[in-house]
Structures are given as C-alpha cells and as structure tokens.
C-alpha cells in the first residue's frame, strides 16, 4: 500500500459516449485531489454502514438492563457494564473451547494448505492424464452441500473410530479447504516461469532443492492468502464440529458450540449481552490474524489468480 497517495488517474463520469480525450496534467491532478475527497467521504459512509452491525454488537455487550429494556434503542449506553464479559471469563469452558478451536483450525489450515499445495503443483506443472477430470472434480466437491452428507460423514468417522477426536474434524474440514487451496495456488505456481526452476537446476540444485528454493518462496503470498481463507472457514464452522465431537464430552467442544450455550432455549431466556461478548471474543483471534497479515492477504488474494 505504498502508492496510496497517487491520485486516481481517472474519474468515474457517467460515461457520455464520446469524451474529449485530452486534458492538461494540471487540471487532472487538481480535479483528482478534490475527487479523492469526494471518494473518501463516500468510502467512509459505506464503512460506517458496514460497521454499524458490529458497533451494535459491541455496545450491546456494555449495556445495562436500563438500556436493554428501553422502548427506543439507545445508540450509546447510558452507563457501561462489564458484566457480559465477566460472565464469559467466569465460564470455565470458555478457554478450553477456544483451545479446541485453535487446535482444530491450525490443524485444518496446515494440513489443508500442505495437501492442497502439493496437488496444486501437480496441476500447474504437469501434464498428466486425468488432469481436467481432477480439476472439475475439485469444483464439484465444493458444490456438495455439507448438511446433506452430515449423517453419512458421521458414519464414516464412527467406523474409523474418529468421532470425538479433533483429528476427525480436521479431516472433514479438508473437504472445503483443499479444493479452494488447489484452485488458488495453481494460479500462483503457473505464474512462476518454468525457466526459473531450470536455471536453478543448471546451477546444481536438485529437483527438490529447486522446488524449495524457487517455487515455495514465490508461492508464499498465495499460501498466506489461502491459509487465512481456510482459517476463517475452519474457525467459524459449527455444525460438523458439533456433531463429530458430540460424544467426546465438553473437553473438546469448539468455541462455536460453546457459543450456542448462550442462546435462548425452551428452558431459559437468552443472555444476548454475553452471547455477543462471546461472539466478539471468539472472533478476536481472527481479527488479530487479519491485522497481522492484512497486506499480504489483500495483495495475495488474487496476485496469482489475476494472471491465471
């Protein structure tokens, strides 16, 4: 994001069919800096609208019953209370649940990216029989509605003795991470000129040496991008985890399953403040991850795909 201040070279006029092409450089710059502010205002407005639901979640966690029961919604809490957060931190299953989710997610991301990367290399660098079939299959895999195969999936895992184990859930998550990883990384690898590998080999690298020194580093942005994508998918997944881990007790329940304990049930009312506080706290690691990798993610999200 180094070139951010460079003025946009074009304005988005509502396209008259023939525009007079030439403009002097001065007018364009002057015009653009005014326009930049117009765009800034529009963008900020959109950001506010987008952020509003999040804002609403956050203030709900601080509201006291006086605001919660007022007839008209209050945009700012009349007094702040940390009760909702206290409830969450007093909950003994919060941290273990977060830990299970972390283990699950890291496992699914590492395994998914590794497996997907190898397959992406195969698809991008090799011409083999069944290649097209494989690519199409990966797309079809993404179309299979997960809820439709829940029960059979459970039967498979049960027979493999993997219900109740985090590893079984990690394997199940690979179904929706691996195809995406293959699709995205393939584009990255294709864009690495084959000559580079060859040059490295001429310089005395073995095949695998060339692989690790050339392909892997150049694919890094793609790896980060797909990792973040897989991370979010795995982190927020609820139904598969809740089902496959159902017989393992509370020690391996995930953060999403834990969160459902705060919704309303036939036997008690929901504690929305705590539920939202829990939701935010559970999202926090994802947000931190984003901030950390922000630049790489946005650059990497398509760096390969655009040239695909």
């Amino acid at each position: 994001m180094s070139d951010v201040l460079s003025p946009a070279p074009e304005t988005r006029q509502p396209l008259p069919p023939v525009r007079k092409p030439k403009k002097s450089k001065e007018t364009e710059v002057g015009r653009s800096s005014v326009m930049t502010w117009v765009w800034n205002v529009i963008a900020l407005f959109v950001a506010v609208v987008m952020a509003f639901p999040i804002y609403w979640m956050i203030i709900t966690t601080f509201k006291t019953n006086k605001d919660l029961i007022s007839q008209d919604p209050t945009f700012w809490p009349s007094s702040f209370s940390l009760d909702s957060y206290k409830t969450i931190f007093d909950d003994a299953s919060f941290l273990p649940a977060l830990r299970s989710t972390l283990v699950l997610t890291v496992g699914a991301v590492v395994l998914g990216v590794a497996v997907g990367f190898l397959a992406a290399v195969a698809v991008a660098r090799f011409n083999f029989r069944g290649r097209s079939f494989f690519i199409v299959t990966m797309l079809v895999v993404q179309m299979v509605p997960l809820i439709a195969i829940l029960i059979p999936l459970f039967v498979v895992m049960n027979n493999a003795g993997m219900t109740g184990s985090l590893f079984g859930v990690i394997l199940a998550y690979l179904v929706f991470t691996v195809p995406y990883v293959i699709w995205t990384l393939r584009s990255f690898i294709v864009n690495i000129p084959a000559e580079l590998d060859e040059a490295a080999m001429v310089d005395g690298c073995t095949q695998w040496g060339a692989f690790f020194r050339i392909i892997l580093p150049l694919t890094m942005p793609g790896l980060v991008t797909t990792a973040v994508y897989s991370w979010i998918q795995a982190w927020n997944e609820f139904i598969v985890a809740s089902m496959l881990l159902s017989t393992s007790g509370n020690k391996s329940q995930t953060a999403m399953t834990w969160l459902t304990f705060y919704s309303s049930t036939p036997t008690r009312a929901a504690d929305y403040g705590s539920q939202m506080a829990g939701g935010l706290l559970v999202s926090l690691p994802v947000i931190i991850l984003f901030v950390f990798f922000q630049k790489k993610v946005s650059a990497g999200l398509t760096a390969g795909a655009v040239k695909g």
């Binding site: 019953n65 007839q71 049960n158 109740g164 809740s242 929901a270």
Partner: protein, 439 residues
C-alpha cells in the same frame, strides 16, 4: 492410471464394506448384562444432561453422583448439553459406538428414538424406580412404546405454561380479583387496556404469533386435550386441525390477540420476557421460570420483582383452566451404551424420591405425589403446579413428529395472527403438519 483407479476403488470398497458391516450389528450392548447393574468398581459412566441442571439444581446432580458412587463404586461424568441443535447430536450419538450411558431427551423427541429401538427396555425394572406408579401421566406416556406396553424412558421433570401478569397494572385498572374464566379475563384485559391507553405500544396480553404452545392450548380448550392436532387410529393419523371446535379455540386466541396484543405477529415467544421488562406489556403466557427472567438483574427489570403474579390460564368455566402444554424431559439409557446397566442404576438414583424432592424447588418433579412439594417451595409455583396437574395436552406422539411439523404449525399461526382466516390457514397447513406422520 489403472493403479490409481484401483487404489481409489479399493479405498472406497473398504469404506463401504466397513460401514455396512458395522452399522447392521446394532443392539448388541443391551442384552449382554442385566438391566440394572451395581457392578461398577473402577468404572466411569457418561451422562448427558441439559445445562439447566447445572445452573439450577446442580446440588441434586451432585447428590445423585455421590449416592451412585457409594452404591456402585463407579464415577459419573456429566456432559452438559444445550437444546440448540440437540436433535442432530442425539441422532448421531445413538448411532455411534460410544454412546453415553444415560441421556436426557425432550419429551417431544422420545417417540422417535423409542421407535428406532435406540433405548434399553426398562419395563422389567420400572417398578424399582421410585414413584413409578405415580409418574405424571403425560410424561410417563412419552417414554412408552406406542401401545403403552413398554417403558423406555423415565420422566425427569415437567414444565407448564401459565399466565404471568402485572399485579400492579391490573390493580391500578381496578382488577383486584384474578380472573378465573375467559370472560372475566376479557373484562379484566379491557379495563387494563383502557387504563393504559396512553402508553405507546401497549399490550394488555401479549400473544406472539409464533407461540404455538399457547395458541394450541386455546384450541385444546374448546376441542379437548385428547387427539388435539391429530388423532391416531392404529397406525393412521387424522388431522383435527380443521375440526370446528379446534378452529373455534384458535379463533378465541386470535380474537384475544387482535384485541389486546400489539406487534409480534411474526416472532415467537423467546423475547417476550425482555419485552415485558420494557413495561408496556401487562400479561404474557409463559413458563414459570420466565418470571425470573422478566426481573433478571441484567436482561430484565428488577423493579418488577414484587409486581408479578401467576395464574393458570383461565378457561371457559371457573376451575376448568385452558389446558397447558406439558413440556418436560425424560431420561433414557441408549441401547449402544457400554455400561447400560450402570446407566439405568444412575437414573434410578437420580429420579428417586429424595432427589426429585430436592429438584422440586426448581422444576415440576416427575411424580404426582411430589408436585405439592413443588407448589410449597414458592408462591409462584402454585399456578404452574396446578396447570401441570390439571388437563394438559401433548403433541401427536408419533415417531415421525419433528421440529419441521412444529415450524409448519407456527408459521400457519403466524399467518393467522397477521390477519389470515383461521379456518383457511389451518386447512392449508393441515396436510403438511399431519400428512408427514403417515409416511
């Protein structure tokens, strides 16, 4: 190429073969040992209970655990559950090879699992369970086979809906005597409504459109509690939703709604406590525990603490209240449990007179002779206790009844609340609600 195909095919065959072979060897665990076992030295059993117990009557659970340990030598691990998505969880757990040794299920879910023989048959030891001859009828029935000859699930606790109202608002409007009939209720609500005409968005009696429990209660009030929604003859269910009597009851509900309830046509009852805490609702129909949630320190309004009262929902005549839906929980031993005998023993201890009497401070216990203890525990419990002891209705007790049927019914009622004609809407949904019971 060929090898690849062969490899995939081999994996697939193995998976399919193993899946098929093991899924057909089902109820092996149930007959191996005796139904009630005390031989638990060094063993540990797993029990699924709703977290309501953890939050409200944890001491009952602890006491049962201690007694169980003393009598059998085995430890108990409680795994707390919540109703959200519970059906899917139980479905899969009962299919799996490491099912828990005892589980809690909703009384509306029981028929499905009993039909699938997923529970251990407890008929032979039923008499060894305390008060088993005095179990609440409807709750006991939910744990029995379709012909009521066998018992698979033990009643745990019950819940019934009553009218929760603002004594202060009623008294300010000149209603000092709690209404005992529907006619009196209407007169009272008219007065409350008139007295609060100045309050914006005021409901004298808030009846959300999707609260099918209260709507069908009115239907059962005029139709009768037997065979409400659908009645069975042999295996066949016939709908009673379009019975003129039932429609009449639904119309009563709808008239009350039109006259006294503002908003809420498209929502269910989950937020009615929070809404009542806002102050513009004078009465709701809800479970006994909802009083606590209206005056909750955080999400409710503690100022209403002494201003709420409960009565059984008035019916056509005094002393004949509108029947309540009898909700509740059962306990059962999964057929695939590893320690089924110990699981049954735990249930025997957990539902004995001592534990149930302790539980009666918080919920309606499972036996008629213990309900008095419940009523004595708190003044507010009297109405719920009476409602549970009086006439109650239940869903068609078919293994094919599921959440989807309830949703269809809720949505039809919501359409009525939004202005639809009761007879037309019920006619429209009849096939969807009842038709699927005959598949």
């Amino acid at each position: 190429m060929n090898r690849k195909i062969a490899a995939v095919a081999a994996i697939a065959t193995v998976l399919v073969a193993s899946a098929c072979s093991s899924s057909s060897s089902s109820d092996s665990g149930s007959k191996s040992s005796e139904v009630l076992s005390k031989d638990g030295k060094g063993k540990k059993i797993t029990v699924w209970l709703m977290d309501d117990a953890q939050k409200q009557w944890n001491e009952v659970v602890e006491a049962a655990k201690t007694q169980f340990k003393n009598e059998t030598g085995a430890d108990v691990e409680i795994q707390w559950q919540t109703w959200s998505n519970y059906t899917t969880k139980v479905d899969t757990a009962l299919l799996s090879d490491n099912a828990p040794d005892a589980i809690e299920i909703g009384n509306t879910q029981a028929a499905k699992y009993i039909d699938a023989e997923s529970f251990v048959d407890l008929t032979s030891v039923k008499s060894k369970f305390d008060n088993s001859d005095k179990w609440l009828d409807s709750l006991a029935a939910s744990g029995q086979s379709a012909d009521h000859s066998k018992t698979y699930a033990v009643p745990y606790y019950a819940g019934a809906r009553v009218m929760i109202y603002r004594k202060d608002l009623f008294e300010a409007a000149g209603v000092t005597q709690a209404p005992t009939t529907l006619a009196e209720l209407k007169t009272a609500l008219d007065k409350v409504k008139a007295a609060n005409a100045g309050t914006a968005n005021f409901s004298a009696l808030y009846l959300p459109g999707k609260n099918w429990y209260s709507a069908v209660s009115f239907g059962a009030g005029s139709f009768g509690v037997d065979g409400v929604i659908a009645k069975s003859s042999g295996d066949k269910w016939t709908s009673t939703l379009t019975d003129p009597k039932f429609i009449e009851g639904i119309s009563t509900w709808n008239d009350l709604q039109k006259a006294y309830s503002v908003g809420g046509t498209t929502v269910d009852e989950t937020d009615q406590d929070a809404r009542m805490a806002q102050g513009n609702i004078a009465a709701i129909i809800g479970n006994g525990w909802e009083v606590g949630s209206v005056i909750d320190e955080k999400n409710g309004n503690p100022a209403l603490k002494d201003k709420l009262a409960t009565i059984a929902l008035p019916g056509a005549a005094a002393g004949d209240p509108t029947p309540a839906f009898l909700g509740g929980s059962d306990l059962a031993v999964p057929a695939k449990a590893k320690n089924a005998g110990l699981g049954a023993t735990f249930l025997q201890i957990f539902t004995n007179t001592a534990q149930q009497t302790a539980l009666a401070k918080h919920a309606i216990p499972n036996a008629k002779n213990l309900v008095d203890a419940y009523k004595a525990a708190d003044k507010a419990n009297e109405a719920t206790g009476n409602a549970a002891q009086g006439k109650t209705w239940f869903i068609p007790n078919s293994p094919l009844w599921s959440g989807s049927n309830e949703t269809e019914l809720k949505n039809a009622l919501s359409a009525i609340a939004a202005g639809g004609d009761p007879a037309t809407e019920l006619k429209k949904v009849e096939a969807k609600v009842v038709g699927s019971l005959n598949d």
